[in-house]
């Protein structure tokens, strides 16, 4: 008789970090495939269309890189906190706040600036906006121990309302006074509109995203601050013993996390939308960042890979809507994303446990019948 058993792992081998995300993607494709079959769409056709759209040719890859760019920032935001056991669920709200700040700063200051300085202004403003949105949750967590999961999430709702108010609910500085009828945001000056490269919407935001990931990786792995995060995440008493301030580390970590999400907003404003426009911002990029951080197991370089992949998925979602005989909405991308996260979270058990296949000889199975209760 063969028995399959889950056994606790003593150590997590390195390959698991790659195998679990890859396998969960496959499992998600299979599960989602059931839906396609049930709705009379051949899953393999759907997937090959999607794959082609996302990674199949140069134009597809370009579009994927465009979609991936803000996701790198939101992914880093979630990952930076997650690795020390803090959950910033509100990247979406910080992204809005970052976009508001970036658009405001661009409108205010960049008209007469040179391009590099304008780019810096947009990103710094975005970071400051995201950080400001995180200020209350971060202080509450560091000083009072309030769950950052709840507070950051609540702040998303607030950001959502503020966003609407600035454009449709008031004649704010962000709103274009010349639009009649449907209210719109004011377009930012040319200097703050990032140049497009390679005939696509690839902009300076992409290299900035990659460099940011490298910096985050460096901070996590090579600095005393990152080391302190590890210690606090694992053993708060040990941190106290060693004189590492938990308060300060939590505060800084959450603020930086907020700033990173705010930079996603800046990248969207300067690289794609050029004005504060609620409907264009509301893509759930902040929430996808959480999925990315989970898939990347909070590793900053893994975030680049996962963002590229989920960026491709979003891009593919856009493209398959155009394939007439499949008749798919673009939200297939979100459905797949959800499946991937679920499969990944389920697959986590394999990083702490392993399957063991045990062969036993029947003669040895001698459980006393008396004892086999329950």
């Amino acid at each position: 008789m063969i028995v399959v058993r889950l056994e606790r792992r003593v150590a997590t081998p390195r390959w698991i970090g790659v195998a679990v995300p890859v396998a969960s993607v496959f499992a998600a494709l299979v599960l989602a495939g059931v839906f396609f079959v049930l709705t009379d769409r051949p899953p393999l056709t759907v997937y090959s269309e999607m794959f082609d759209a996302a990674f199949g040719d140069v134009q597809g890859v370009k579009n994927t890189l465009v979609s991936a760019t803000p996701l790198v920032f939101t992914g880093l935001a979630a990952a930076f906190a997650m690795r020390m056991g803090l959950y910033n669920i509100g990247g979406e709200g910080q992204l809005y706040a970052g976009a508001i700040a970036a658009a405001g700063a661009a409108l205010l200051w960049t008209a007469d600036l040179s391009t590099p300085i304008a780019i810096a202004v947009v990103f710094v403003a975005g970071a400051v906006g995201g950080m400001a949105w995180m200020l209350v949750p971060a202080l509450a967590r560091a000083l009072l121990g309030t769950s950052e999961i709840v507070t950051t999430l609540m702040m998303v709702l607030v950001a959502d309302v503020v966003l609407d108010y600035l454009i449709s609910g008031s004649t704010s500085y962000w709103r274009d006074p010349l639009t009649i009828g449907f209210p719109q945001g004011k377009e930012i000056p040319d200097a703050a509109q990032f140049t497009r490269w390679f005939d696509a919407r690839i902009t300076v935001a992409l290299p900035i995203a990659i460099v940011t990931a490298a910096i985050v990786w460096f901070v996590r792995n090579r600095t005393s601050f990152g080391y302190g995060q590890d210690v606090i995440g694992d053993a708060p008493h040990a941190a106290r013993y060693a004189g590492i301030s938990e308060r300060r580390t939590v505060l800084v970590t959450l603020l930086v996390s907020g700033a990173l999400a705010g930079m996603a907003g800046a990248a969207e404003i300067g690289g794609r939308i050029y004005k504060l426009e609620p409907s264009s911002l509301r893509l759930g990029l902040g929430f996808t960042g959480i999925v990315i951080a989970a898939l990347a197991r909070s590793n900053a370089l893994g975030v680049l890979v996962a963002a590229f992949f989920l960026g491709g998925l979003r891009n593919a979602g856009q493209s398959v809507q155009a394939v007439a005989d499949l008749d798919l909405p673009k939200s297939v991308a979100l459905m797949l994303e959800g499946f991937i996260l679920l499969c990944f979270l389920g697959g986590q058990v394999f990083s702490t446990h392993r399957l063991r296949i045990v062969r036993r000889e029947p003669a040895r199975r001698a459980r006393a019948s008396a004892g086999a209760s329950s």
Partner: protein, 508 residues
């Protein structure tokens, strides 16, 4: 269900109640058990004796069903049984009391006892359960209040709860994994009374220990293990401490606590004045005045829970006193960082979780109290770790092993080495809390030698220990801590065991 399984010739009434033959269990990089045989007779106390890492806990885990052996068979009353989980073990009347308790802190004693009990119905008849728990406890001399909450209980009391839990479920084989490691001498005595009551009632006990003295006192038979193999088995009548020590360590060992030469004290380097720690109503430390001079060891004797932890934390800057001051070489200590900067090394009472971060590697843990700049080098830390592993014979898979997989003794070696032997810079003050508790003979020797080295190198050492022999063997001066006050102060020359014992018990 009828059983048509192979029955061993020695099954039947005279058969061992529990036995295992040819047990092999591997972990990555170690063979924890290598072809081990062991058997337990009705009504006996059978001790598994061995140094840390010998495989005692692993063997007990196999016997109770927590681990499945790769090769080998477990027999219950002479019949082979397959225990797939501790629950299976319990169904066979086998229960293990783990070294690290598995109790829910917020629950009451009774709630913990019935937690997971398959017999428990849908409703909790609290009154009836409390009564039953109390009666089980009383039968075996285990004074516990069924309605007390776990977080209010001491280590010794928690252990009683674990034992009551096993007995309540009807276990008649009890596996006690290193039960005395964290107990005070008084609690150990009380535990032995319970063990004797259990065997008198026909229950059998597997007792795990590395302390020779108590093994000789409590066991009917002793199986000695080293490196995953059984090196010998003796009945108590034959038990000779030197022989047991040799079987355990693999070489001859000088059993009597080695007397260390007295230091030559210089000027005071650690001074505490009027240190008081209050936590709400409780006064943990009450106006303590203490002075440690360079080149001496001051031993703090006393039963744990009398302010030791707070004293150590205050002196190392980890805990801010309610009032009073601490100075190291004239510098006030107001934070852990300040203490480190002034050259204070601190070996805390709780190793894993405070002194070491369990999920970080050995190398990363070495960085914990090193002076760190803005950047850290994990590769340098890895080199350090390799060196310490080699120098102190730490049994570990390598420098990247997480500290939680180390046995207690090996974890402590890493911790003490980091605090005392690292960094090329000798500490000026050492605060060591229970530095040898729960360690085996070899590790104790190493740790004491490091403390002695620190003294020779001119450090002022504060040695807080419940082990009076250790304090007497090492300290130049002795103070006794009782209820947050110093109840006695004596020089080594004038130290009188009787007087110290009375001071520890609060009898003036």
């Amino acid at each position: 269900m009828t059983d048509d399984t192979t029955v061993r010739p020695d099954s039947g009434p005279g058969a061992p109640v529990l036995a295992a033959t040819g047990v092999v269990k591997r972990f990555p990089g170690v063979v924890a058990l290598d072809d081990v045989d062991v058997d337990l007779r009705a009504g006996e106390v059978h001790t598994l004796l061995g140094e840390n890492g010998a495989g005692k806990s692993t063997l007990a885990s196999v016997l109770c069903g927590a681990y499945q052996p790769e090769v080998g068979t477990v027999f219950r009353h002479g019949r082979p049984v397959e225990l797939r989980s501790p629950r299976d073990g319990l169904a066979h009347g086998i229960a293990m009391v783990h070294q690290h308790f598995r109790l829910v802190e917020r629950f009451t004693v009774s709630e913990n006892v019935v937690l997971g009990d398959p017999q428990l119905g849908r409703w909790l008849a609290r009154g009836a359960i409390d009564d039953r728990v109390a009666s089980v406890a009383e039968t075996f001399g285990l004074p516990v209040d069924p309605r007390a909450r776990i977080h209010d209980l001491s280590v010794g009391q928690r252990q009683r709860v674990e034992i009551v839990k096993a007995l309540y479920r009807g276990a008649d084989v009890l596996l006690l994994d290193d039960p005395t490691a964290d107990l005070t001498p008084q609690e150990t005595e009380a535990l032995f009374v319970t063990v004797r009551a259990m065997t008198a009632a026909g229950k059998s006990v597997v007792f795990i220990s590395h302390k020779l003295g108590e093994v000789v006192e409590i066991s009917d038979r002793v199986t000695v293990m080293r490196g995953g193999v059984v090196t010998g088995q003796v009945a108590r009548v034959d038990a000779d401490r030197h022989e047991l020590a040799r079987l355990m360590v693999g070489r001859d060992i000088d059993l009597d606590a080695q007397q260390f030469a007295a230091g030559s004290p210089g000027s005071p380097c650690l001074i505490a004045k009027g240190v008081t720690v209050r936590d709400g109503e409780q006064t943990a430390l009450d106006a303590i005045d203490l002075e440690v001079r360079a080149g001496e060891i001051v031993g703090v004797a006393g039963v744990s829970g009398n302010g030791q932890r707070e004293l150590a934390d205050v002196l190392a800057g980890v805990l801010a006193p309610t009032s009073g001051v601490v100075e190291v070489n004239g510098q006030p200590i107001r934070s852990a960082r300040a203490a480190r900067a002034a050259g204070v090394a601190y070996v805390p009472e709780e190793r894993l979780g405070t002194g070491l971060a369990p999920s970080l590697t050995i190398g990363e843990n070495l960085l914990l109290t090193r002076r760190r700049g803005a950047l850290v080098s994990r590769s340098a830390a890895r080199r350090d770790a390799r060196e310490i592993i080699a120098r102190f014979e730490v049994k570990a898979p390598g420098p990247d092993a997480r500290c939680r997989v180390l046995s207690g003794g090996n974890a402590q070696k890493v911790l003490v080495a980091r605090e005392l032997a690292g960094d090329g810079q000798a500490p000026k003050v050492v605060v060591a809390s229970a530095p040898t508790r729960g360690l085996d003979v070899g590790a104790i020797e190493q740790v004491r030698a490091l403390l002695d080295d620190a003294r020779r190198n001119g450090a002022g050492v504060l040695l807080i220990s419940e082990d009076l022999d250790e304090v007497l063997a090492m300290a130049d001066r002795i103070v006794v801590l009782y209820r947050g006050r110093i109840s006695l102060e004596a020089d080594r020359a004038s130290a009188d065991r009787g007087a110290i014992g009375r001071a520890m018990a609060g009898i003036a």
